[in-house]
Symmetry: C2
Subunit: 98 residues, 2 copies
């Protein structure tokens, strides 16, 4: 029986592999797979982003070895960075509401 | 309506604050809060660890500014590192089962 936090970790792994296995290297995200993952799984985040170059920029940031693919480490770094940004927003709201 | 991945991010934020707010600085984990979080939320992980110094070691690794507290960034780095380790294990199993 997994705890909520363990379930969250499991979700990150399963989500990555659901998209990375669609085409090509099944353990890495191509640009198409990354775009689909962002559109379908980070809907809220993308809905406030109007930058048409966003997927390209994220790919450049996360593609450490420049093979035009994002591995699991890169994906987790992205999710961690987004979570820190969400937390900063949450803390700011809490501080204001003191 | 959050996606599964967004729910996972939300779980990380809520789990951290459930423990960090128990005593002292409500936006940071003390050593006692970190120990409780590890014991109650990462049960599977801790169950295979026999090192009595583990909590001290994790605290040292994550406590970037040496104030004996772990902030949200440190916590997310820990969860990310554990998730990458779990994924490596998962990929290894998959590769063997090819």
């Amino acid at each position: 029986m997994l705890t909520q936090l363990e379930t969250a970790m499991d979700t990150m792994i399963r989500t990555f592999h659901r998209y990375s296995s669609k085409e090509g290297d099944r353990f890495k995200l191509s640009k198409g797979e990354l775009k689909l993952l962002l559109q379908q799984e980070l809907t809220e985040f993308l809905s406030c982003q109007k930058d048409p170059q966003l997927v390209d920029k994220i790919m450049q940031d996360l593609d450490a070895n420049k093979d035009n693919r994002v591995d699991f480490n890169g994906f987790v770094v992205m999710v961690a960075a987004l979570t820190v940004a969400c937390n900063d927003y949450f803390v700011e709201l809490k501080e204001k509401g003191k």
